[in-house]
């Protein structure tokens, strides 16, 4: 495995799909990886060891899925279109300088995206509602913000975060270096109330969200 710098994040594919639940699956991540859209992983699967991705690739997975789900291209064209669009979008999303990306419908009816200087037209997207274009603009802004802070919120778990700068991106209770996996691990032998007493910097909501995220039955 090649060296990567602190803060770039290290995620197993299963972890990416867990963090990006409920829409993401490991199979989808492997599909986009195989298509070359995400770039080469830090490490390919070998001898039972998981494929590892960076934080940038986690955001790419989320973006590709969002574009695919929102743009409603015909099935025959969707992969090629998403590949072309992702490549154009990624060059801007993860660049040093950020130029706001805006989606619009061009005069000939095609869906297009612009960074204010360059434009890309990508097929018709017949079923696309105008509101969805604004939503896509907001999604791109959010992704850029996440990229700059190197962290993603975990949907449905407001007290949890995956921050590439903390434990390489392992999901933690926000504001701590306490992993959700560790909470779930010790909860097999210690009651949640006792964990809260032993670890005063863990809050109750964070604890139960960690257990639920880890699908620990104690969360129920």
């Amino acid at each position: 495995m090649g060296l990567i710098a602190l803060g770039e994040g290290v995620y197993a594919v299963a972890e990416v799909s867990h963090i990006l639940h409920p829409t993401m699956t490991a199979r989808k991540v492997h599909y986009w990886l195989k298509k070359g859209i995400l770039g080469p992983p830090i490490r390919q699967t070998r001898s039972g060891r998981p494929t590892l991705l960076t934080f940038e690739q986690l955001l790419k997975v989320r973006t590709v899925q969002h574009l695919r789900d929102d743009l409603h291209f015909s099935l025959q064209r969707v992969t090629a279109t998403v590949e072309e669009l992702s490549s154009w979008v990624f060059r801007r999303l993860f660049a040093q300088e950020w130029y706001e990306l805006r989606f619009y419908r061009s005069p000939n009816g095609a869906i297009a995206v612009t960074d204010g200087m360059h434009d890309l037209e990508v097929g018709s997207g017949q079923l696309l509602m105008p509101d969805l274009l604004l939503e896509l603009d907001a999604f791109m802004r959010k992704t850029r913000e996440d990229w700059e802070r190197r962290a993603v919120d975990i949907e449905g778990f407001p007290r949890l975060v995956s921050n590439a700068r903390i434990l390489g991106g392992a999901p933690v209770i926000n504001g701590t270096r306490v992993e959700t996996a560790f909470i779930s691990h010790i909860a097999h032998e210690i009651a949640p109330k006792e964990i809260l007493r032993l670890y005063p910097y863990i809050d109750e909501e964070g604890l139960y969200q960690a257990l639920k995220f880890e699908r620990n039955p104690l969360a129920a």
Binding site: L3, R165, L167, G168, A170, F182, Y201
Partner: protein, 140 residues
């Protein structure tokens, strides 16, 4: 010699282990007392500021993510002690305490002999010096 405990470890563990401070000439500090929620890139600097020879970390999963932190610490001359759970027992505070107390002498001796850049794996069975590659082969 000073040793920092990472945030997964029981915060009172430092106090409990420091009862043996004179005996082993080791002082334990808990990172939550100094820098709660610290970013990985700050850890080597925190260790330097505290003149800590090692960071103790508890690892139950997702080792890949830890590799870069351990590499950065080792490069900065800070040793790493990784607690690994056994199949029999989770890393509860009692188990953390028992594992560290049982092997504290060996850990201290290894850290003193090596002067940094040492990766030690601590299990219920004992403490072993290990390379990052070996640890990754074991835990993915």
């Amino acid at each position: 010699m000073r040793i920092i405990l990472d945030e997964n470890l029981w915060p009172e563990l430092a106090t409990a282990l420091n009862a043996f401070e004179q005996r082993y000439d080791l002082t334990f500090l808990h990172i939550n007392e100094m820098a709660p929620g610290a970013q990985d890139e700050d850890i080597p600097e925190i260790c330097r500021q505290q003149e800590a020879a090692a960071l103790v970390s508890a690892n139950v999963r997702d080792f890949g993510a830890r590799r870069v932190i351990f590499e950065a610490l080792l490069e900065a001359g800070v040793s790493v002690v990784v607690l690994r759970p056994s199949k029999r027992a989770a890393l509860t505070p009692e188990v953390q305490m028992a594992m560290l107390i049982r092997h504290i002498q060996k850990i201290a001796a290894a850290l003193r002999a090596d002067q940094g850049r040492l990766l030690l794996k601590l299990t219920e069975g004992g403490v072993t010096e290990i390379s990052l590659e070996q640890l990754i082969r074991e835990v993915g």
